[in-house]
């Protein structure tokens, strides 16, 4: 699901039509063969075409960008792999790299220069069995966007950074605005809950990552906190299909705090007519005792094993992950560069970006199993059932452990047989 980055489609479209026509359209050197293909999701997919003309001008290679809908992208990529129809270059969320490397869909990075000067820790999630399989591209740590005016009216100058403070603030806001909500956390986006689990110290899996561990005190604490935000009326029990325009909802005061990624910065700037700049600010997400690790949504570029032109494909990866491209991208979509040298640019030295820059140095580590994407969805289903009162917490967590054990059965068998490490 890749979770939580497909929000704000409206704004994205508005942005696209508003991009000023600057720069020269590069000389359209025509290559003899078919264009290289690049698949990307979310904002990256929509805006990649803008990075292409420079590449085409320099190399004479044409590139065809296909933008995949985020919520359908995982199955689309797997099906394309199974059908032998993968593109030359594909974007993957970092949590998917392990899976696609294991099934042999993506090629290892053989050019060390591509991985030079990366922000520390960022390569950990794209390394499988000691080899690098992806070049980090677009980093999107989550922070909290908050309405300064609403929080100030309730007595808070800035958003609290610990769980107890968050609740106290929510209580005060809700008392003053009983018809609205406090937190914009949609019930089908796992990111918020996964972050809370990590922050509470839950390992989530046990026994060499072959079984679920969701009935531990840590996991319970995270679930209880998450669920209470809904049952106390601080967060709406809504899916992303229901909140059609989150930016408008935030602007209207429907919610006062929105955990989201850097793309939201650009959305807000574009829609300053309904959401003036002085009304909002950013802060790091709260953890039990002050800011901690956060499950982010970094994405990387990979080269498919099915490509017929690996050299051209790697050249495209090099171009897209170069510092000029990364900085251009940051201006276009908000997401941060993965290369540390890029941070010398004054463009990244603004106050509003500071929480993001701090947070990206503290990414959450997630269990490196190829079933993770699926497990993450199951975690969110369990939470949704508790929130909606379909199941008690005890029943839902026991069922979740059972479900995860089954999902990992094949992994257990293969580990025992020594077929995988």
């Amino acid at each position: 699901m890749g979770a939580g980055i497909s929000e704000g489609g409206w704004t994205r479209r508005a942005m696209l039509s508003a991009v000023p026509v600057i720069g020269l359209a590069g000389c359209q050197a025509r290559a003899d063969h078919r264009p290289l293909s690049l698949w990307a999701m979310s904002y990256e997919g929509d805006y990649s075409p803008l990075l292409i003309p420079a590449f085409t001008a320099a190399t004479g290679l044409d590139v065809e960008v296909q933008s995949l809908p985020t919520t359908a992208s995982h199955e689309k990529l797997l099906t394309a792999f199974a059908g032998g129809a993968l593109p030359d270059v594909l974007m993957l969320f970092n949590s998917w790299v392990h899976e696609f490397a294991t099934i042999g869909a993506i090629a290892p990075v053989t050019r060390p220069a591509l991985l030079a000067q990366m922000v520390p820790g960022i390569l950990a999630s794209t390394r499988v069995a000691g080899r690098d399989f992806a070049v980090p591209w677009s980093v999107a740590p989550q922070v909290q966007f908050y309405r300064r005016d609403i929080l100030a009216a309730a007595g808070w100058d800035a958003a609290p950074s610990d769980w107890a403070g968050w609740r106290a603030m929510a209580k005060a806001v809700k008392r003053r605005r009983p018809d609205d909500y406090v937190f914009l956390m949609l019930l089908n986006w796992p990111t918020a809950l996964i972050t809370m689990l990590v922050q509470a110290g839950a390992t989530m899996l046990r026994d060499r990552d072959t079984r679920g561990a969701f009935q531990t005190p840590e996991a319970r604490a995270a679930f209880a906190y998450y669920v209470s935000l809904y049952t106390d009326g601080y967060a709406p029990m809504a899916l992303s299909t229901e909140i059609q325009d989150p930016v408008a909802a935030f602007a209207a005061g429907y919610c006062a705090v929105w955990p989201s990624g850097p793309t939201t910065l650009v959305d807000f700037t574009r829609r300053a007519d309904i959401l003036p700049r002085e009304r909002w600010s950013t802060a790091r997400l709260p953890a039990p005792d002050g800011p901690g690790a956060v499950s982010g949504l970094a994405s990387s570029l990979c080269v498919s094993t099915q490509t017929r032109r690996p050299d051209a494909a790697w050249a495209l990866v090099r171009h897209l992950t170069s510092i000029p491209s990364e900085l251009r991208y940051q201006r276009l979509i908000g997401n941060l560069p993965a290369r540390i040298d890029a941070y010398q640019s004054p463009q990244l030295a603004t106050a509003v970006l500071r929480p993001f820059a701090e947070q990206m140095h503290q990414p959450a580590t997630l269990p490196p199993v190829i079933e993770w994407e699926r497990i993450q969805i199951e975690i969110q289903y369990a939470a949704e059932r508790i929130v909606r009162g379909v199941q008690t917490m005890d029943a839902a967590l026991a069922a979740l452990d059972d479900r995860v054990d089954r999902l990992l059965a094949k992994r257990r068998a293969l580990l025992d047989a020594g077929a995988i490490a």
């Binding site: 497909s6 704000g8 489609g9 409206w10 994205r12 479209r13 696209l16 039509s17 991009v19 000023p20 026509v21 600057i22 720069g23 020269l24 359209a25 590069g26 293909s37 979310s42 075409p49 803008l50 292409i52 003309p53 296909q66 933008s67 995949l68 809908p69 985020t70 919520t71 359908a72 689309k76 099906t79 394309a80 199974a82 059908g83 032998g84 129809a85 993968l86 299909t241 059609q244 325009d245 408008a248």
Partner: protein, 283 residues
């Protein structure tokens, strides 16, 4: 007396009301597609555009160059793909199933009864059972991500064969036998005697096949990887996942998808409904 005169009025009014309710969503679709962006999500829900705007169609259909890069929802190519695929599937479908339906009705051959039984029995096997292995087979045949991969499964028209057979049974055997005695070949009998009699049925079936192919969603979604090849429903679903907030844009997309088949249906409705009604009701 008054009641007797009022009855036609009342019953017609009731039917008209139900019809209005049925058509309302389609009319609303058209109306919203012409609203300026964002208007449909204002309160109170507008029933009519504040002014008629073509911006949604412009945005949806026109390819724009921004900063040297092309942006496009690829609706026009998808429209062309859908038309081509539906046309080919319909033509091939007719070519394959109409003669077969006739053969099952009128030609005597060994195994006919048995084959017919199998065909009828297989109607209750859901097509989805075959879908998963079919993908693996098509991969081996190199048909994944191609038009052929989309069209081929729709040609296995068991229902169409039975439909044609049913209609052909009504043709008197004597006509065909008389032609045989005159020395006409089997193919000629089919083409010059049977086909003209089957015209309404063939039109009905053609529209059926066309609609089936045009509206098909699950299989093209699975088998087409490349956006160049997307059919309209697949393209619309892809936009809808990311742009659900754009009510007006999505409505314009829905109009583009439904209008061609609605118009086709309206143009051919006389044949089509007559075919379905089995000729029992006139116009």
């Amino acid at each position: 007396m008054a009641v007797r005169r009022l009855r036609p009025l009342l019953s017609t009014a009731l039917v008209a009301a139900i019809t209005a309710l049925t058509i309302a969503p389609l009319l609303y679709m058209v109306v919203v597609s012409f609203m300026p962006r964002g208007e449909s999500t204002t309160l109170p829900t507008p029933l009519w555009p504040s002014h008629w705007s073509g911006e949604n169609y412009y945005e949806l259909l026109v390819r724009r160059s921004i900063d040297g890069a092309w942006f496009d929802y690829r609706i026009v190519p998808a429209l062309v793909n859908s038309l081509a695929i539906a046309a080919i599937a319909t033509a091939l479908g007719l070519l394959l199933t109409v003669p077969a339906g006739y053969a099952f009705a009128k030609l005597r051959f060994r195994g006919r009864a048995r084959l017919l039984q199998i065909l009828i029995g297989s109607l209750i096997v859901p097509g989805q059972v075959a879908m998963l292995p079919l993908f693996l087979i098509f991969k081996e045949l190199g048909l994944v991500n191609s038009y052929a991969g989309v069209i081929l499964p729709s040609l296995a028209g068991i229902f169409a064969i039975l439909f044609v057979r049913q209609a052909t049974l009504a043709i008197p055997d004597e006509m065909i036998d008389a032609a045989r005695i005159d020395g006409a070949g089997e193919v000629r009998i089919f083409v010059s005697i049977v086909l003209p009699l089957l015209t309404p049925i063939v039109v009905t079936l053609a529209l059926f096949l066309f609609l089936g192919s045009w509206n098909d969603f699950l299989w093209p979604l699975i088998v087409l990887a490349d956006q160049h090849l997307y059919t309209l429903p697949v393209a619309i679903a892809a936009i809808g996942r990311e742009h659900a907030a754009d009510g007006e844009l999505m409505m314009a997309a829905a109009v583009v998808t439904t209008m061609p088949v609605l118009l086709l249906f309206l143009a051919l409705q006389r044949y089509y409904l007559t075919g379905l009604l089995g000729g029992s009701i006139k116009g």
